[in-house]
């Protein structure tokens, strides 16, 4: 659709601008403020320059947390995206069963995040949880509060459980937009199942898949509540992801300068990676439109 140039449209955007500025810009400036100051209590602040940032870049704790966070996001993306596409390809195309699948698949997406944590915390317990009990009975040495590998496996399976449906729903929406004529043409050409996927379904899904990847990256990168409820960041620091570490620092130890520098670095990393995804996404949009 051709849009008209109209500078007065700013008036329509103004309420959003004021509201978001109040709830985003003011807090963000507070963070920036803290990141360059030092405090000796009683609200006395001193200009500290960039020492917090220097300290941050030299702190092993931050690099470890960032490493764990990147590993976590990479693993869940590597599992959820192919699995989501696979599920979407197997979903009924229309009718009663399609509705049933849509409703049941959406269910995990609407559960409060701490309840998701609670569900898995209970489900994976060796004494009273179905999963933990079964694993224990078949002889797997499984204990997510003590064992590094079990803790990671639990939070990864939990995230796959929680969010794979999102990827599947988006991929499904992409598949639904393919006209039937494409499939008929493929049939006439005797295209194999793989060829249909590679040359018809996948290109059509690409746009929505980018959105799915963008969303899953952002949300997994700021995940806090679910792993916190299940493992509390343990055993040791094994599952202390960035958000968990930050909350510990800011609200637990009240290290304002450190936490603020940490926050800014954290936000910039998300922003940079998301910007790349976003650019790819809008370029795909344009290509589809043109």
């Amino acid at each position: 659709m051709e849009k008209t140039v109209n500078q007065k449209a700013w008036f329509l955007v103004l309420p959003v601008l004021v509201l978001v500025a109040f709830s985003a810009v003011i807090p963000l400036m507070t963070v920036v403020n803290y990141s360059v100051q030092d405090s000796f209590g009683q609200n006395n602040f001193f200009w500290a320059g960039l020492i917090w940032f220097e300290e941050l870049l030299n702190s092993e704790r931050m690099w470890d947390a960032l490493g764990r966070q990147l590993a976590f996001s990479a693993i869940i993306l590597a599992i959820e995206v192919p699995l989501g596409i696979f599920v979407a390809l197997n979903m009924p195309k229309k009718g009663f069963w399609a509705s049933v699948c849509l409703v049941l698949m959406s269910l995990p997406l609407l559960i409060p995040w701490n309840v998701v944590g609670t569900i898995w915390q209970v489900f994976a317990r060796v004494d009273i949880g179905l999963l933990g009990y079964t694993l224990d009975k078949i002889g797997v040495d499984y204990n997510y509060t003590q064992d590094f590998f079990a803790a990671w496996a639990t939070i990864i399976v939990m995230d796959v459980w929680h969010w794979t449906s999102l990827v599947a729903l988006l991929a499904y929406a992409g598949l639904q937009s393919i006209p039937n004529a494409y499939y008929q043409a493929a049939k006439i050409d005797q295209a194999s199942r793989w060829a249909v996927f590679r040359y018809i379904e996948f290109p059509k899904m690409l746009g929505v898949l980018m959105i799915a990847i963008l969303l899953r990256f952002m949300d997994s990168f700021m995940i806090y509540t679910e792993p916190f409820v299940v493992t509390g960041g343990g055993p040791g620091n094994a599952t202390t992801l960035l958000s968990i570490d930050l909350v510990k620092m800011a609200l637990g130890q009240f290290d304002l300068g450190n936490a603020a520098a940490f926050s800014i670095m954290y936000f910039l990393v998300i922003l940079a990676i998301s910007w790349v995804f976003y650019t790819v996404m809008t370029n795909l949009d344009k290509r589809d439109a043109g």
Partner: protein, 284 residues
Amino acid sequence: MADMTAPRTAAARSLSLPRVNGSAIVMVVYLLFLLLPIYWLLNMSLKTNTEILGTFSLWPRDLTLANYATILSDPSWYMGYVNSLIYVVINTTISITVALPAAYAFSRYTFLGDKHLFFWLLTNRMAPPAVFALPFFQLYSSVGLFDTHIAVALAHCLFNVPLAVWILEGFMRGVPKEIDETAYIDGYSFPRFFVKIFMPLIASGIGVAAFFCFMFSWVELLLSRTLTSVDAKPIAATMTRTVGASGVDWGVLAAAGVLTIIPGALVIYFVRNYIAKGFALGRV
């Protein structure tokens, strides 16, 4: 080539039946994986604590509703649900109200800095709540809004307003511009056109945007927990009460969990066809 065609289609035909069944098996296995943990929570919520800890059973042997009774008869429990509902409704109302005109502007006009503004809105959806927890706490404490419903509602606007703008813009793009122009020629003023003609046209979009604002505000815990202590404490934070000196009250914890799933489960049927569009920020 022609001689190869016949056997191949025959093979494809004989393969087509198992393939359909294969899809069904995949879906059944996947849905089972999704529902099993939820079933387990439900199962636990209907048992007594002695049964939960004593015997391992796949279904409740002596069914009890005592856990639900505990929650629904104690104000310090059920007020958690009321508090959550209050701030969620306030948030949804604010988000949709401010997002409607903005989404209209983005869908119809180009203006100075519109693309940057649009991306800046999205960056707020990317902002980790953990980054904002402390500044929010200080901001709302200093203006005397700490532990009020409006504080949580405003804090959740951080991610819900951008979401609402994106979803509504997606729906508004589908409405042809000729409708606007015809209305203006007929002498409608902008506010009257917007309320009388335009809003009914995108009613489903408004419903979907409201649903998503409701949902994301309902599932969020970090900010709502940080900004409240007693009077506006959300149910999600109340749930930690079940951990007491004598151990965890598993039955009540499970019942509280089941009750938080219900609001989402009730409305999901109505938005099932739009849920992908909502999650895609209106881009599908």
